[in-house]
């Protein structure tokens, strides 16, 4: 059982990597002809694409880390913090593609920001020509990545704060006369960093290799490396080159990991020396206000992107430089219902199945692990998140083509499961390991068998994390672009694939409606995950009251 589950998980990873390696060296001539490495390396777009990927990926990751630390140092312990921490899950839930589209509506020269202040403040009767979006240097993409990935890292950090006993550290530091910023940098960050390192690596790998956001926000000429490889992969003449490029991309990611490790060692050394210097530092009022402004700006641009999606989806006319649509309509929703409903149904059916299958398989694994029937190998689950999607899925698609599995609904679900299970298992693992086994033992003593204990005691007690994991699974599945595109053979069009492929051609207002739908599904899942356990709890309480109307005094 253990090996079956682990095997099912590792099967596409191993075969996928093999399916990328073999064509790249010309061993699968039926799928890919010729030698891949020499072709890709001599492609005139290779070097610019590598440079662009490195530039956007590294800058975005550095900014994500900086903004996360800035939020912790400047916003933690202030009134803003409640807002920030409450908005993290929904920001995380909104799919990348939807945010990217909303951001385009916001920051373009003819976008909402300029419309809001023109022509009154700027004097622009026509859109400015000083910049374009997407720009050739990848800044639009960097902004998009930062907006989407900072909440991820921040949430990972927040979940660790309690274990680090932050409040106590701050008190001690303040008593010793250190400024708040120094308390963080000297006392907390050195302990926090190792706990969020893995998340940061996942973000770095993602930023270096993202496809959907790079298609929407990235430069096209040259594109980032992963987008360039996407353009090559479907042509049998250049499949070998695409596979070779995907391997080199994986190598590039590994190289960046190594670089990050060295950088980390160096910074740790510097920080250790500075810790011993004993300098207490100045107050940091201005710095703090500035930091709060940046964090607020991040929140607002995310919220504004979503609001703009909603507005455009109900707009008939909204010309530059009007600050507000001049004509509204429901037509984008009603007359285009067929364009919207089909992909929404496909998305939902895949997401719900994936969530269910991921939950069941995660419960199976964690139960086996609890009963010492399965080893605790958390590292394994991170594999799909650390290997670039392009590098894994090119090969997995080749394997699927080979066996004729491509285009099947189950193949798409299977591949989504591969990317969903890691999150589900890691979310549930914490709760699973913390759950007091005493409850189960008590029930067993009362005569309940294993299944009854699991069904009646353990799972209800874990209802809240189970619901959260299910919501995350839905969000991850709804956002999957590349697995759906490559394994679905065009037969399973989800909101993600529909949004990205039709962007640029399809009416902006319908694109907005698609993006709203794509954001709505995971947001609904999160709301339900929040409400359902409460509703269950109130039912249980009513039930308890009805059988025992007298409150039991302790």
């Amino acid at each position: 059982m253990v090996w079956l589950l682990a095997g099912l998980f590792l099967f596409p990873i191993i075969l996928g990597l093999a399916g990328t390696v073999l064509p790249s060296i010309g061993w699968l001539p039926t799928i890919a002809t010729g030698q891949g490495f020499s072709v890709i390396l001599s492609d005139p777009r290779w070097l610019p694409a590598v440079a662009l990927s490195l530039q956007t990926g590294i800058i975005a990751t550095v900014l994500v880390l900086a903004l996360t630390l800035l939020s912790l140092i400047c916003v933690h312990d202030t009134r803003l913090w409640q807002w920030v921490s409450a908005s993290l899950p929904p920001m995380l839930a909104v799919p990348h593609a939807a945010i990217a589209v909303g951001l385009l509506f916001l920051i373009s020269p003819s976008g909402a920001l300029v419309r809001l202040v023109s022509p009154e403040l700027t004097g622009w009767a026509r859109p400015p020509t000083q910049w374009v979006v997407p720009d050739a240097n990848g800044w639009s993409l960097i902004i998009g990545l930062v907006i989407k990935e900072t909440p991820f890292l921040l949430l990972a950090a927040v979940s660790q704060l309690q274990a680090l006993n932050v409040d106590a550290s701050l008190r001690i530091g303040r008593t010793l006369g250190y400024s708040p910023a120094r308390c963080w940098s000297r006392l907390i960050l050195p302990r926090l960093y190792p706990r969020i390192r893995l998340t940061l690596l996942i973000i770095l790998a993602f930023n270096l290799t993202v496809v959907d956001m790079a298609l929407l926000l990235g430069p096209g000429n040259p594109p980032t490396l992963s987008v360039l490889l996407m353009a090559l992969v479907n042509d049998p003449d250049s499949r070998a080159a695409a596979s070779a490029g995907a391997l080199l991309l994986a190598g590039l990611v590994a190289l960046c990991f190594a670089l990050m490790y060295l950088l980390e060692r160096w910074i740790a050394g510097v920080a250790a020396r500075r810790r011993r210097s004993g300098a207490r530092g100045q107050g940091f009022g201005v710095f703090r206000t500035l930091g709060q402004g940046v964090v607020l700006g991040l929140l607002l641009s995310c919220a504004a992107s979503l609001v703009l999606l909603l507005m455009w989806s109900f707009t008939r006319r909204w010309r530059f430089p009007d600050a507000w649509p001049s004509e509204w309509t429901l037509q984008n929703w009603t007359s285009r219902a067929d364009v919207l409903i089909d992909p929404a149904v496909t998305t939902l059916s895949i997401a719900l199945t994936v969530a269910l299958v991921s939950l069941v398989s995660a419960i199976m694994w964690l139960e086996l692990e609890r009963r010492a029937l399965a080893p605790r190998i958390d590292g394994m689950w991170f594999l799909p998140l650390l290997i670039p999607q392009v590098s894994l899925l090119f090969g997995w698609q080749a394997v699927a083509l080979w066996f004729g599995w491509d285009g099947h609904w189950w193949t798409v679900v299977y591949t989504h499961w591969l990317y969903t299970l890691p999150y589900v298992i890691l979310i549930l693992a914490v709760a699973w390991r913390e759950l007091d086994p005493g409850w189960g033992h008590a029930a067993q003593v009362l005569g309940a068998g294993y299944w009854r204990v699991l069904w009646k005691i353990r799972l209800p007690l874990l209802l809240r994390p189970l619901c959260q994991a299910a919501a995350v699974a839905v969000a991850v599945s709804v956002a999957q672009y590349l697995p759906t595109l490559l394994l679905g053979a065009g037969r399973h069009q989800t909101l993600a694939t529909e949004l990205v492929t039709s962007f640029g051609g399809v009416d902006r207002r319908v694109i907005a409606a698609l993006a709203v739908l794509q954001s709505l599904l995971p947001l609904l899942a999160f709301v339900m995950a929040l409400l359902y356990p409460r509703w269950r709890m109130s039912r249980v309480q009513q039930h308890v009251k009805s059988i025992n109307p007298q409150p039991v005094l302790p």
Binding site: S335, W410, G490
Partner: protein
């Protein structure tokens, strides 16, 4: 347990379907009643560019009609560039997947058709056996697709011509030649074009090439023949000189490009550019009525004419539902479907039928179509033939080498 049990049947069915063989009776010249009978109950996977919601909506209507009239289910597989599908078919040919293909019908023309014909990826001369093919126009661009003889391997679907759309409220007299365009951007004119290999971008540079070589009879002749025979560098040299001068003055300074013709239309509405490119002479009418462009826009072509062509649908050799694909091709050619497509409210694309051959009721369908003042006025601007199909890839590659890095 559940995961385990759920996956086994999937793996098995996938394995089985890869070895199972089906035999279908229809041939390209089968009796039409046989075709209709076999088509009933089949699903056509129609691979077509999915970048325009107007086209997607039209296909949704086709799907409904095919279902009620012929019991055929249409699945529109939206693709970004049909060249990718041609690539997948080439891969399928290599691995010997000669049946149960993923593509039943595809939207195609030009170099993609040339590639399919060259690699024998088409099924056969079905197009000339479709009942509605008798109404098709007798036109050189329908008999030969980018100078490549069609031979019934693809069925015509619509006509197209490169046109320019401008906002008369912003620019009263737009540039009407390549030279005037350069002058226009040297002033404060705002312009950009989609980066090749995006379809509109490639067509635009072909248009420039034809215009810039118009004075040389030998160059003009070379463009209608395979590129291998021509002195590519000498013929294209004026084009690169022109683009070198043009690019720094474009929106995005030749570093950031629109991704499609539709995007230039959106940028026109936003005011980021002054001129949009379209391959549909009636697009502006549809866009104005749909609230996507102001009603001050007008459509025009260069004084010496612009490139026009025909696009087609074809059935791959390994299609699963060939009968249904034929039924759909025929329905697309029906006067009703063609007249609906010509209506700017719906799609607004010129028909491939010779309206004079239709009966009165069907002629009336076309006469009822109101093109509006925003469309290209009928009879303006001559249509220039496409260069030979082989020029497309050569020009795209040369463009990417120069400007795409």
């Amino acid at each position: 347990m559940p995961t385990y049990r759920r996956f086994i049947p999937v793996l098995f069915s996938a394995l089985l379907s890869s070895v199972a063989t089906h035999t279908y009776a229809v041939e390209p010249d089968s009796d039409w009643d046989t075709v209709l009978e076999e088509a009933r109950g089949q699903t056509v996977y129609f691979n077509a560019w999915g970048g325009s919601d107007r086209i997607n909506n039209y296909l949704a209507w086709v799907a409904k009609e095919l279902d009620t009239r012929h019991g055929v289910t249409l699945e529109h597989v939206k693709v970004g560039d049909i060249a990718e599908v041609v690539g997948q078919l080439e891969a399928a040919k290599l691995v010997g997947r000669n049946e149960d293909g993923n593509v039943d019908l595809m939207w195609i023309n030009g170099e993609n058709f040339a590639a399919m014909k060259r690699n024998e990826l088409t099924w056969g001369p079905f197009a000339t056996h479709l009942p509605n093919s008798r109404y098709v126009k007798d036109s050189p661009s329908i008999k030969a697709d980018f100078s490549v003889s069609v031979d019934g391997l693809e069925s015509p679907w619509g006509g197209a011509q490169l046109v320019f759309i401008h906002d008369s409220a912003a620019v009263a007299s737009p540039p009407r030649s390549a030279d005037a365009l350069l002058e226009f951007v040297r002033g404060d004119g705002r312009f950009s074009y989609p980066a090749p290999p995006a379809f509109h971008g490639t067509t635009f540079i072909k248009q420039l090439l034809i215009e810039l070589s118009a004075e040389s009879a030998s160059s003009t002749q070379a463009l209608s023949e395979p590129v291998e025979k021509a002195d590519f560098n000498a013929i294209t040299e004026p084009l690169w000189r022109y683009l070198d001068a043009l690019h720094p003055l474009l929106r995005g300074a030749g570093k950031s490009w629109p991704t499609s013709g539709e995007m230039t239309r959106q940028l026109l509405d936003d005011g980021e550019v002054d001129i949009a490119l379209s391959f549909n002479p009636n697009e502006a009418s549809a866009a104005v009525r749909g609230g996507q462009l102001p009603d001050t826009v007008r459509t025009y072509v260069f004084d010496n004419g612009t490139i026009g062509n025909t696009h087609f649908v074809t059935i791959p050799w390994n299609a699963t539902a060939k009968a249904a694909a034929m039924v759909m091709s025929d329905f697309l050619l029906s006067p009703e479907a063609q007249a609906r497509k010509a209506d700017p409210e719906i799609w607004g694309e010129p028909t491939v039928l010779d309206v004079a051959l239709l009966d009165e009721a069907d002629q009336a369908r076309f006469n009822d179509v109101d093109l509006g003042v925003w469309a290209l006025p009928i009879g303006t601007g001559s249509v220039l033939p496409e260069p030979h199909a082989s020029w497309t890839v050569a020009l795209e590659n040369a463009w990417i080498e120069r400007y795409g890095q």
